[in-house]
């Protein structure tokens, strides 16, 4: 079988590289020669709009950890954390980040500044609480735990939860005013929310374009390229500009009938974070079968714009709270995730579901066997479950992964031959 080239040859990948390079340059400058106070935050549904309104520099330990993994440098940092007492069974994102912290915060792509504020947006992931509690112990920086009640009943988001989050955002504003020595400029916050709303809308439109046959970009392997600017630059002019460019390009490819592969033979939905240390290897295992991801749950951890969310400049705090409470994947329960995937399979026209189960992130993985049960037995969707990790290279076995993926697509081929394929 010919192994087609699987890289996405578009302008946006180059532009992304440039923007993220600039972002890391900004972090390095802040770390080495001073700059705006750094606010550490988590990716899942975060209040970056508020942080930006104070001129603070958003820093995402998750993004730093994954960049280290992409550069195949994660293991020494992980081992450093394990020497400090972290377990082999702890989340490797945390370990890589703690290892980085105790390595002078020097990563292969730049230096991370010390935090002025440790802002734990507790959106779903319980490990976030441990992670930022530990960073606080080590750095002694100012800390704020922004507690986001989990979506847990049909009334979500409950008005009581919304009131609780807005009350905390007001406390957070007071803390940021103390740290930066300036008052919140509400007009500026509204402006940032408007930028976020437009950015989110473009991102949503791109997500909907992947319903097209052939799919104009891989909604997993290419979508992760867009996620960097979505999180690190959301609420800024350059972030918006990037998404305008990205939308134009994806739209153009859709009209020209271009996809990431020479031939699209299978469309699949993928659940779970990528194996960052082996991203290209993993991608190629699908490309050789002409398989393209048309939708992914991972690309919605930070927000579910594609299902109708937009920041509201007229109600900045309430809409930030809504985003954190309800409009992201991580704060929703597993059954809501099943429904999200089911919608992807149906509306995005997929032949199969692939579950990438990672040991590090139990928010994603715990119970994915039940998910497989639901999709195969209840819905009759061919489902493949493979295991590795998002950060720790010790958990990726290429040969085993290849065998599993090949066996799965061979079975799909067979179903196609005998006319028993699930039609998208």
């Amino acid at each position: 079988m010919a192994d087609p080239k699987t890289s996405y040859q578009g302008r946006i990948h180059l532009l992304q590289k440039e923007l993220m390079g600039r972002y890391y340059q900004e972090l390095t400058t802040a770390a080495t020669s001073g700059g705006p106070p750094a606010a550490y935050m988590l990716i899942s549904g975060n209040p970056v709009e508020l942080v930006r309104a104070f001129g603070m520099l958003p820093v995402y330990p998750e993004v730093n950890a994954l960049q280290i993994a992409v550069k195949k440098q994660a293991l020494p940092y992980i081992l450093k954390a394990e020497e400090l007492g972290y377990s082999v069974d702890n989340c490797a994102y945390v370990k890589a980040d703690i290892g980085l912290y105790f390595s002078g915060r020097q990563a292969p792509f730049g230096t991370v500044p010390e935090p002025a504020l440790i802002l734990c947006n507790y959106v779903g992931c319980n490990v976030y609480l441990n992670w930022f509690e530990h960073l606080r112990e080590y750095s002694r920086a100012e800390v704020f735990f922004l507690d986001i009640p989990f979506v847990r009943d049909p009334m979500a988001p409950r008005p009581e939860d919304l009131a609780y989050v807005v009350a905390q955002l007001r406390e957070l504003i007071a803390l940021c005013e103390r740290i930066t020595g300036r008052s919140l400029d509400w007009e500026y916050l509204r402006h940032i929310c408007a930028l976020s709303a437009r950015t989110g809308h473009l991102w949503a439109q791109i997500k909907h374009l992947t319903k097209h046959v052939p799919c104009p970009l891989d909604a997993y392997f290419d979508a992760v390229t867009l996620m960097g600017p979505l999180y690190c630059l959301r609420g800024s002019e350059e972030g918006l500009h990037f998404f305008e460019e990205a939308y134009r390009e994806v739209k153009e490819r859709t009209e020209l009938g271009l996809g990431p592969l020479p031939e699209e033979r299978y469309r699949f939905v993928i659940e779970g974070p990528p194996p960052w240390p082996y991203l290209r290897v993993f991608r190629d295992l699908f490309s050789r079968w002409g398989a393209v991801a048309v939708a992914s749950t991972y690309s919605t951890v930070g927000g579910l714009w594609e299902f109708g969310f937009a920041h509201d400049p007229d109600h900045p705090l309430e809409s930030i709270a809504q985003h954190m409470l309800y409009w992201n994947l991580t704060n929703r329960d597993l059954l809501r995730r099943y429904q999200q995937i089911r919608r992807y399979v149906q509306e995005w026209g997929a032949h199969a579901l692939v579950i990438h189960s990672v040991k590090s992130c139990r928010l994603f993985s715990a119970g994915q066997g039940d998910m497989r049960e639901y999709f195969t037995k209840t819905l009759g969707v061919p489902t493949l479950l493979v295991e590795s990790d998002l950060e720790d290279p010790r958990y990726f076995s290429e040969a085993q992964m290849r065998n599993r993926i090949d066996a799965f697509f061979e079975a799909l081929e067979h179903r196609r031959l005998v006319g028993a394929e699930v039609r998208p």
Binding site: A81, L84, G85, Y86, S87, D89, N90, C91, V94, Y122, C125, N126, V127, L129, N130, E133, H134, R136, E137, V143, F144, F145, L146, D147, P149, F150, R152, D153, R158, E160, D161, A163, Y164, A167, Q168, E171, D333, L334, L335, Y338, S357, K359, C361, R362, L363, S365, A366, G367, Q368, G369, D370, E373, Y374, E387
Partner: protein, 382 residues
């Protein structure tokens, strides 16, 4: 004392909640609410006329044959064995079950329960994690109010403020006796072993508080009379087993290896408050305030006002522990994370410590005993 202990041991070791089933069969209107670790608002369950029951995995009685197809190899045992109990029809006596925001697998387990057991009322409680915020009490009152309505739906009984206050008063007495039991262990560990106190308490999670309270009172009276001679052992604080529970034989092995376990966090969610919950005023507010301001330090509660490493050192010194043993359930991420910070704090404080991993279903303890013996010897003769 042997009578009381014998009864408790029997209750704990009977298969698949036999005593709870018998209790439920006595009356057609009886309702049972399962309480997954760590802390459930048992006063609310009691006030709604239901029996709160500790659903804390399958211990060493359950072979996992189905649940491991739903939860992966890197997920802790208590999550899988609790699901196994459900998948093998051993939880059919439950009308509802409460899960809480303690960790990611437990949260996902709640959803898996909801899908696989549609006849069971599954509720997930989100406890606040911003305990410094003045808004946290208000929020928690609304969450408890929501649970009160859910329980009223399950039992068909509205919970009045007066009824809830009575339940709070009853559980205050019960927890008071448990605190007495722990105080006794600290002052005279030769009279009451940690394994015995664990059995006494675990039985309390499987029977009505009205039946368990007299058992505790008898036990307290009798323990005080026991003849016993203090042995040459080290005094230890045990930390880390706040969710999945260790086998009784493992607790005994630690003691036989030369430790007096002066304090521990076994079944800590059932003890939870450091003192009585206020019995007057609004009872939901009383429960919420106690949760936020007067509950124990625990790996699933992130109170920035009182960081856990400092709390551990304070507790170890307060009970006069010579050492700390971390008894972490395998794959328990909250406990494993805590260990990294605890280790650092204990080293700074100069308190010796030992790290041990366990699983609820382990049944060979020679290696653990050997490790603990070496540790004890290094302290006694080192």
């Amino acid at each position: 004392m042997q009578d009381v202990l014998g009864r408790c041991r029997e209750t704990v070791e009977e298969p698949a909640f036999a005593s709870v089933r018998r209790w439920r069969e006595k009356s057609p209107s009886a309702r049972v609410i399962g309480c997954y670790p760590v802390y459930s608002p048992i006063e609310l369950v009691h006030a709604a006329g239901a029996l709160p029951v500790g659903v804390i995995g399958g211990g060493n009685q359950v072979e996992i044959a189905h649940a491991d197809a739903r939860f992966q190899s890197f997920i802790c045992s208590v999550v899988k064995s609790t699901l196994e109990l459900g998948l093998t029809d051993r939880l059919t006596f439950l009308d509802g079950i409460l899960f809480h925001s303690i960790c990611d697998p437990a949260r996902n387990l709640a959803a898996v329960f909801a899908r696989n057991f549609p006849a069971l009322r599954v509720e997930y409680i989100h406890y606040p994690q911003n305990l410094s915020s003045p808004a946290a009490v208000t929020y928690l009152v609304t969450e408890l109010e929501r649970i009160r309505s859910v329980l009223a739906e399950v039992t068909g009984r509205q919970v009045s403020a007066a009824t809830l206050r009575d339940s709070i008063a009853l559980y205050n007495r019960w927890r008071g006796r448990i605190r007495d039991l722990y105080a006794l262990r600290r002052s005279a560990p030769e009279r009451l072993s940690a394994a015995e106190s664990f059995l006494l308490l675990r039985a309390g999670t499987l029977m009505p508080v009205e039946e368990h309270l007299p058992l505790l009172e008898t036990a307290l009276r009798e323990v005080a009379q026991r003849p016993a001679k203090r042995q040459d052992r080290i005094a230890v604080l045990v930390e880390g087993a706040f969710c999945e529970q260790p086998p009784v034989d493992l607790i005994e092995a630690l003691e036989q290896a030369g430790c007096y376990l002066l304090d521990d966090d076994f079944l800590v969610g059932w003890r939870w408050f450091v003192d009585d919950v206020t019995e007057d005023g609004d009872p939901l507010e009383a429960l919420a305030t106690s949760y936020i301001d007067r509950s124990v330090s625990c790996g699933t509660k992130h109170d920035l006002r009182a960081p856990r490493p400092a709390q551990l050192i304070r507790r170890a010194r307060a009970v006069g522990a010579d050492a700390v043993i971390f008894l972490c359930a395998k794959f328990c991420e909250p406990a494993l994370f805590d260990y990294a910070l605890y280790r650092r704090a204990l080293e700074e404080a100069g308190i010796p410590h030992l790290f041990l991993e366990f699983e609820e279903k382990m049944w060979i303890f020679d290696r653990v005993r050997g490790e603990v013996e070496t540790f004890v010897e290094s302290m006694l003769f080192g």
